[in-house]
């Protein structure tokens, strides 16, 4: 490759990508004018967001707008765009930390679900205990929910030390939505006292395959040695499903098992090797596991 040509091509591309034109002070004035057209203010926010670093006072304006319950939703969302991105590094935004927390609490009360949800997400990321309480309350009492059950569990998952383990167990035991239960199972892996509950789910043939699979990953994370016992029991069980057998075998193979294959499971693996068609996922998983054990 001719480096001169390569450089010229890049220079041409860069030359064609000029930064957005516009005066930052004008854009800030437009954005700050609560009486102006919303579309103009959102457009102004675009420029302010992209060039906020040029004037530290831009962040105060963005936080003010976000926290202003009387301002237009679209403008508040645009301000939140800038805040969310600049959270990745701006020390000028950091100066607004306390004001931002208050503004986000106010945004949680907005009528617009998108604005509300994003404010909740941002506070949950910051491990806000008041938001965590609301999420937990909402899982216990649907009428108190500030977001969906699945999102609630997901948002609690930002914090290993939230007060959520009891409610997660309730979700696993009784929630109707499989995705919510899977998310709860995943988080319960952090708590060794949840091992028995997770194992029950993994062994339960009446459970959905995806739930059992997530449970298997959780059990392997929280109790690797017990996972081996359960996994080989599943493999040895004539009446269990191929999908979960293939899944636990693959997990055993990837993480490496510390024990030799129990006799009943070994016999089942031989049967699978001999009787299943090439290309079947279970046969492939069995082959790889035997190979790894042999090595």
């Amino acid at each position: 490759m001719d480096l001169d040509d390569y450089r010229r091509q890049l220079e041409a591309d860069v030359g064609a990508a000029a930064p957005p034109a516009g005066d930052l002070a004008d854009a800030m004035a437009t954005l700050a004018d609560r009486s102006g057209p919303v579309a103009d203010r959102v457009e102004a926010a675009r420029l302010v967001n992209m060039r906020a670093h040029e004037r530290p006072d831009t962040f105060g304006l963005l936080v003010d707008i976000l926290g202003d319950g009387g301002d237009a939703t679209d403008v508040r969302l645009a301000a939140l765009d800038g805040i969310e991105v600049h959270q990745f590094g701006s020390s000028a935004l950091k100066e607004q930390r306390a004001e931002l927390t208050v503004a986000l609490k106010r945004a949680m009360e907005a009528d617009d679900p998108d604005l509300r949800e994003r404010a909740i997400d941002m506070l949950a990321r910051g491990r806000d205990v008041d938001v965590q309480r609301q999420l937990i309350d909402g899982l216990r009492d649907r009428t108190a929910a500030i977001t969906t059950p699945q999102r609630s569990v997901e948002l609690l998952g930002y914090d290993l030390k939230a007060d959520h383990y009891d409610v997660l167990k309730d979700v696993v035991a009784g929630h109707e939505d499989a995705e919510t239960r899977r998310e709860a199972l995943r988080l319960l892996a952090a708590d060794a006292e949840s091992e028995a509950l997770i194992e029950t789910v993994v062994r339960d043939k009446d459970e959905e395959a995806a739930v059992r699979d997530t449970g298997a990953a959780a059990l392997q994370a929280v109790a690797p040695e017990q996972f081996e016992v359960v996994a080989y029991d599943i493999v040895a069980d004539d009446n269990d499903y191929d999908e979960i057998k293939a899944s636990v075998l693959t997990k055993l193979t990837q993480q490496g098992s510390t024990t030799s294959i129990p006799a009943e499971a070994a016999a089942q693996l031989d049967t699978i090797q001999n009787e299943r068609a090439d290309g079947e996922p279970l046969k492939e998983a069995a082959r790889r596991h035997i190979e790894q054990q042999d090595n």
Partner: protein, 379 residues
Amino acid sequence: MDDAEFLERVSAVTERHAPPDGLVDLLAEDSGVFAGHGAREVARRRGWILAAFEQTGLPEGAVPYVREELETAHDPYVAAAAAKAVRGSAARDGEFAYHLTAALTNMVQRDDAVCFDGFVPNWSVGSTTTVVAEIAASLRWLGRLPAAVVPTIEAAAATVGLGAAARQRLTEVITEAESVAEDDGRVELRHLDTGERSCCRPASPGADPLPTGTGRDLARVRVEDQAGASLSLAAFLTGRPTVIAFFYTRCENPYKCSLTVTKMADLQARLAQIGRGDDVQLAIVSYDSAHDTAARLARYGQARGFVGTDHHRLFRVVDGEEDLHTYLAINVGYAGSLVNRHAVELFLTNDAGVVVRRWERTLWSVDDVLEQVLSPSAP
């Protein structure tokens, strides 16, 4: 314990003008008000209790808790509450300035809003404050500040990312402190970028009480070390004096476990320098034995410079954990298997495994521990 019961326990003191010592009992990790709750909820409850001392008055028994939170709190709410508690003190003791300044350096890069208008505050109507504002208010309340803390406050005020209002408050603290400054000569401020975190606090307080009358021993306690070796803890402790620290790898507070293991590595290096590496044993024991496998212990220690040897080891407890915790009266609480709160504490045992010195709720210094271990009257 649910919110209602907890609040009733607190208000039994605050609203009925009972002696505030009743609140001190609630602060212990095993008081019952924290059991089973997550760490964030525990922080909220501790903060609520600590903040109450501003109104009830700060009893002597609460001072170690306040001091500990100022030095180690990672949560702005708890640090702000501890700062408020100082203002409940009967005496404007300048010693608090060292602890408040430590809190300031911990919190100046995370000066968040907090709200004490209600245990579950209504942010839309409640008044908010910030952690640095509360620390600054308490420093001003003290009136007279040791000269040694002023440079730290000045440096904190100049921190990149600190808001203008907080900067102004700290500037006011400095301005007022200059007019009443005195240097009580307790400690010199060390270089900010290289010293231990204990640079800004007074010399280690007097010896903390030893655990007594537990009715337990270590006979059943078995541990596994970072290399996977299983052994009796009592056997390990027999024959040499041992410094015992506690930690867990999932601790998120950088002023606690990560710092503890780092300082134990420093202690190890200092012992080696003076040729006493094999004379004094070091044991770093996990609170979180189910999670902290040997591999995790090894990696965590290695990353912080702690070298596993026959006499210097990281342990997880595989049997008799309750006996160990009772024997040493460990200050730790749990939610399920997860640690929800623990104190910073260190023990020195003699060659029979008997505790002869304890550092409780304090950021012990390597110098102090080394001095104790090497003193002629050492075990």
